[in-house]
Amino acid sequence: MKRIVLILLVIIILAVGWYAYRAYTGKVKSLTEVKTDVKINAKELIAAFEKDSAAANKQYLGKVMEVTGNVKSVEKEEGSATVSLGESGAMSSVRCSMDTTYVQEAANIQEGNSITVKGACTGFMSEELLGSDVILNRCIVVTGKK
């Protein structure tokens, strides 16, 4: 009787373990665990896209990059936060949409400080009235935390 219980227990533990393992490995990894492809400063990154967006797309699209720049603004909304890096007064910036696990932390980022943000480059948005932005997604703050 004891033996059956033991065997059942082992089977259950293995099943749960397997399920947890699958659930964990299947998830999109946090960028803290992903290797950085490119290190660049915000000004250079913006310039590359403004000069030739097709070429810059080829070079940077989907890449995990660490971008250093001046914090222009921090926008907070329910459940999301966006940090803009770049020259103050300029129409263009690098917009970093923060990872959901970093939204709280984003509240501590100070405008005017220089910080390094790690994020996945999703591309370039250029609108006539709104200026142009390089977009980083699932961002985490590497340095410049308060």
Partner: protein, 184 residues
């Protein structure tokens, strides 16, 4: 003379100001993507959509970078980008259109207004005319615009391998939810 100049300047300032009040925008619009299929429901979220609404004539446009869609599952995100959307080749999707019943929306008066949105939806480089319902909500915070699109996957030449045909729905639901600020 001085008076006239003053008048002229205030008139110019007023028109500039009035114009600035007509247009509303966001760069952090939310888009949700739902595919409901017998075997598996798939959901993705986007938080960086750009939207511009001209309240004067009802012109509405928004755009989003395909790579900005976040999935729970890494494999799904990969399939979505590489196989279905080819996001390296077609990085952006956009909608350019019109609030058909813009006259029925009072942007000065708080309330929720049902709208019809009509225009050109571009996905994966293919543009189709679409019409869909939505709402505009005016409150103390500003203007919120939302719309729901039911997109036929086949309309946009999105090929689904026969192996996963039952896994992926033929129609996906895309909801757009934006909180707009005055553009100035």
């Amino acid at each position: 003379m001085r008076n006239k100049l003053f008048l002229a300047i205030s008139f110019i300032l007023m028109t500039v100001f009035a114009q600035a009040q007509d247009k509303f925008f966001t760069k952090s619009g939310k888009i949700n993507f739902y595919s409901v299929a017998p075997l598996e429901d798939i959901e993705a979220k986007h938080k960086s959509a750009v939207a511009v609404l001209d309240t004067k004539n009802g012109t509405l446009q928004f755009s989003a970078l395909i790579k900005g869609f976040e999935f729970e599952n890494e494999e799904m995100q990969q399939h979505f980008n590489e196989d279905y959307m080819e996001s390296d080749k077609f990085p952006k999707s956009e909608f350019k259109g019109q609030v058909v019943n813009n006259a029925a929306v009072n942007y000065q008066k708080p309330g929720t207004y049902p709208i019809q949105v009509k225009g050109a939806l571009t996905i994966r480089g293919v543009t189709k005319e679409v019409q869909t319902p939505g709402t505009i909500k005016v409150d103390g915070d500003g203007v919120k615009a939302a719309a729901t699109f039911n997109v036929q996957v086949a309309d946009y030449n999105i090929k689904i391998p026969s192996l996963v045909k039952d896994k992926v729905a033929k129609t996906v639901k895309i909801t757009v939810d934006t909180k707009l600020d005055p553009l100035n």
